[in-house]
């Protein structure tokens, strides 16, 4: 098993006719993802290397039975595109676009939460890879193989780095989920931790955080209460200049300074082992799972 994306994924890409949209849609298809269509208003009836393009998500869903959307349009159009996908009945929306205005994200998040029909991953994320099954997004899949380690991360490229060192130790992955680095992620650590906990294939969870906000601290509490599987943490930003992320008012809100040290300590207090470098994360994974995955 795996989480979020697999062989049943039927992907429709918003912005499929753009340069990046085309490049990554075709890469996802090449990997084995079932890319059933794309949406670009005004280009309905065309195709991208055989993938049909529709004017609207409603039409795309009607014609193709798409159940997953990937958003690849520029920031000013992205919120609208996410809402359109949800309105059309798409259940999983993966938003790669970065730079979406914060108030747009707030409106999208609260609308999706109110309606309760769709899950949003991202925005500003690298997507989701279930090795051997489906790749939705921009994660370079050739570095990863199927296995028992679930990875959830706020940062795209850091996810690749961690996945890569795990692979060098012989670990494969059930699913790699990039939840994105924006202030209002559609899905947070806790959501994904719960999914990995319930996924029989996942035996170890690696959680990669970064400075800023308090998502890692909240995840630490959740792990202590609800996660029975071993979790290895990593926090980037120990040597970054100490910050006042959202300023004074922000610090009051979160009750946390958002530093790497504070996050690592919160995790360690809850029994989560935290690697100081990506390589140490892989070493901790070995110590927790042994080398059986490499056999």
């Amino acid at each position: 098993m795996s989480i979020l994306v697999d062989g049943s994924t039927r992907l429709c890409v918003s912005g499929i006719t753009g340069r990046e949209g085309t490049f990554h849609s075709l890469r996802n298809r090449e990997y084995g993802t079932n890319v059933v269509g794309g949406v670009t208003p005004g280009k309905g009836g065309q195709d991208v290397d055989g993938i049909p393009v529709f004017n609207t998500f409603a039409e795309a869903v009607r014609e193709t039975g798409a159940n997953t959307a990937m958003i690849f349009v520029p920031p000013r159009f992205a919120a609208d595109s996410i809402l359109e996908a949800e309105d059309a009945g798409i259940e999983l929306i993966v938003a790669i676009t970065e730079g979406i205005p914060a108030h747009d994200e707030l409106r999208v998040f609260n609308t999706l939460r109110r309606n309760g029909r769709a899950r949003l991953i991202g925005p500003n994320c690298p997507g989701i890879l279930s090795p051997g099954k489906a790749n939705v997004g921009i994660i370079p899949a050739s570095f990863f193989s199927a296995g028992n380690v679930g990875v959830v991360s706020r940062s795209g490229t850091l996810t690749y780095q961690i996945g890569n060192v795990l692979a060098q130790q012989g670990f494969g992955n059930s699913t790699i989920v990039g939840i994105g680095g924006d202030p209002v992620p559609g899905t947070d650590f806790i959501d994904v931790l719960a999914m990995f906990e319930a996924d029989p294939e996942t035996e170890l969870i690696v959680m990669c955080g970064e400075i800023g906000g308090d998502a890692e601290e909240r995840a630490a509490d959740y792990i202590a209460e609800h996660v029975s599987k071993p979790v290895v943490g990593y926090i980037a930003g120990f040597t970054a200049p100490p910050g006042k992320t959202m300023g004074h008012a922000g610090a009051i809100v979160s009750g946390s300074q958002g530093t790497a040290r504070a996050k690592a300590e919160a995790l360690e207090r809850r029994g989560v082992r935290v690697g100081r470098t990506p390589t140490q994360v892989a070493e901790l994974a070995v110590s927790l799972l042994g080398n059986r995955s490499a056999v």
């Binding site: 970065e98 205005p101 800023g212 998502a215 006042k244 008012a249």
Partner: protein, 450 residues
């Protein structure tokens, strides 16, 4: 009754609360942030924070102008960029008035940047002293001359983008005029809080409830509630991530509503979302580029997120998380990073060439580490950019390059073919970090001493 100077100036405590956002990290790039601050000796320096909204902080007077546009009552004031203009403004407004330095940093009052002038001589004296003054590394170029206000009470009000709750948070306290963080630590009950459903928006009852819960004086409950509604309007209409008033004062009236006493925003701290600036052309022009570090400005103009640090190893990577991790790994290997630079997702060759120029514009850089793990970024583009940079600027320091991910083989092949002088390709991030630390140390030793 004459206003007490400290109170009229908003009090040193209120000033000490400082700027919440900070001016830099905007990666046009939320994602590319690292941690913020404290790099610059003067404080208010940069830092990076992934997940923070890329922000643009406004000066007090700019915030007050936005307030006025949305009906938030503010004291009358004028902007002045010379002593003559300040005197004209003061004469116009009448005495006593307050001369306030306009810089994006806390502690203006303590630094002597806010003064009460009882007459023309004092106004001249203060304007002369404050213009050109250095406040924690920032030079004062602008003054806000404002009618002095009598102060009966000082409150605190704000609208904050609450990441955890995914909703705007309204806060109100009757203990304004001082550092609100201190209040929060000492007596959390002293701050009334309420989340607003962003799909519903501000309702009058929100204002009433906060005002009663915070315990504001009965005669101004309605006015304070209304002001909260207006501040929420500023927050939404201008796409702010923070709107803060400290102090919000109760002063002698008459109020707009005919009350004996009135409320006014005596200070304004507004942080706008850079990502939304395409919808706010007027606000985009408010950016204070004079306050930005020249190298950071150069990077920003080129769409790169750059933060200067104290060390001597230039760092370039793609994606804030990986760049932060690279800083950590270099530090673990015994090196000191000279900067954070996130070339961003999908970096094209030109962006890489630009980034090399920005990194090398810092004379302390002894060696440079490229750590690229391409997803949307293509390693062949990175290699092309580096090769082009070598053609254009002929760097004199060693480069260590680690390329993995999309089109990495092609990237490494291009680099091997170009055979650039003093460019070392490493297979792993740890190996690359160790190598660049060694090379930087060797450069230091080889540097001519005379």
């Amino acid at each position: 009754m004459e206003a007490a100077p400290g109170a009229a100036c908003g009090g040193p405590g209120g000033e000490a609360a400082g700027w919440p956002g900070g001016r830099w990290a905007r990666r046009e790039v939320a994602r590319r942030e690292v941690a913020r601050r404290e790099v610059r000796p003067a404080g208010g320096g940069p830092g990076v924070d992934p997940g923070k909204v890329p922000a643009m902080d406004l000066l007090e007077y700019q915030g007050k102008q936005l307030f006025a546009r949305h009906g938030v009552p503010v004291p009358e004031g004028r902007l002045a960029v010379s002593v003559e203009e300040a005197l004209a403004a003061a004469d116009d407004l009448g005495y006593p008035c307050v001369i306030k330095a306009q810089v994006q940093i806390g502690g203006r009052g303590k630094a002597g940047g806010i003064k009460l002038a009882r007459d023309r001589d004092e106004a001249r004296q203060h304007a002369e002293a404050i213009l050109g003054m250095d406040i924690r590394g920032l030079t004062v170029h602008e003054l806000w001359v404002e009618k002095a206000s009598e102060i009966d009470a000082e409150y605190y009000a704000s609208v904050v983008f609450d990441r955890s709750a995914k909703a705007p948070l309204l806060m109100l306290s009757t203990r304004g005029g001082m550092d609100i963080e201190e209040v929060a630590a000492e007596d959390p009950q002293a701050i009334a809080r309420l989340h607003v459903d962003p799909l519903l928006g501000f309702q009058d009852f929100h204002g009433r409830r906060l005002a009663f819960e915070a315990g504001v004086a009965g005669d101004v409950v309605r006015q304070v509630g209304e002001m909260l509604g207006r501040l929420y309007e500023v927050f939404v209409a201008e796409e702010a991530t923070l709107v803060e008033v400290n102090p919000l004062i109760v002063t002698s009236g008459p109020s707009e509503q005919g009350g004996v006493r009135a409320v006014r925003a005596l200070d304004a701290k507004v942080t706008l979302d850079d990502n939304a600036m395409f919808r706010h052309a007027d606000n985009a022009q408010l950016r204070d580029i004079s306050a930005e570090d020249p190298q950071e400005r150069m990077a920003k103009e080129r769409g790169l997120t750059y933060v200067k640090l104290d060390g001597d190893i230039g760092i370039l990577g793609n994606g804030a998380g990986l760049v932060m991790s690279t800083l950590d790994v270099v530090a673990e290997a015994g090196g000191a990073p000279a900067n954070f630079l996130d070339a961003g997702g999908g970096s094209k060759a030109e962006a890489i060439t630009n980034a090399v120029e920005v990194i090398l514009s810092n004379p302390r850089v002894k060696a440079v580490l490229f750590n690229i793990f391409g997803g949307i970024t293509r390693c062949d583009e990175v290699a092309r950019g580096l090769i082009e940079a070598f053609h254009q600027i002929n760097p004199q320091v060693p480069f260590v390059v680690r390329l993995d991910g999309t089109n990495d083989q092609e990237g490494r092949r291009l680099l091997a073919e170009a055979n650039l002088p003093n460019v070392h390709v490493e297979a792993t991030m740890d190996g690359a970090a160790r190598r660049v630390v060694e090379l930087a140390a060797a450069e230091v030793m080889e540097a001519p001493s005379g």
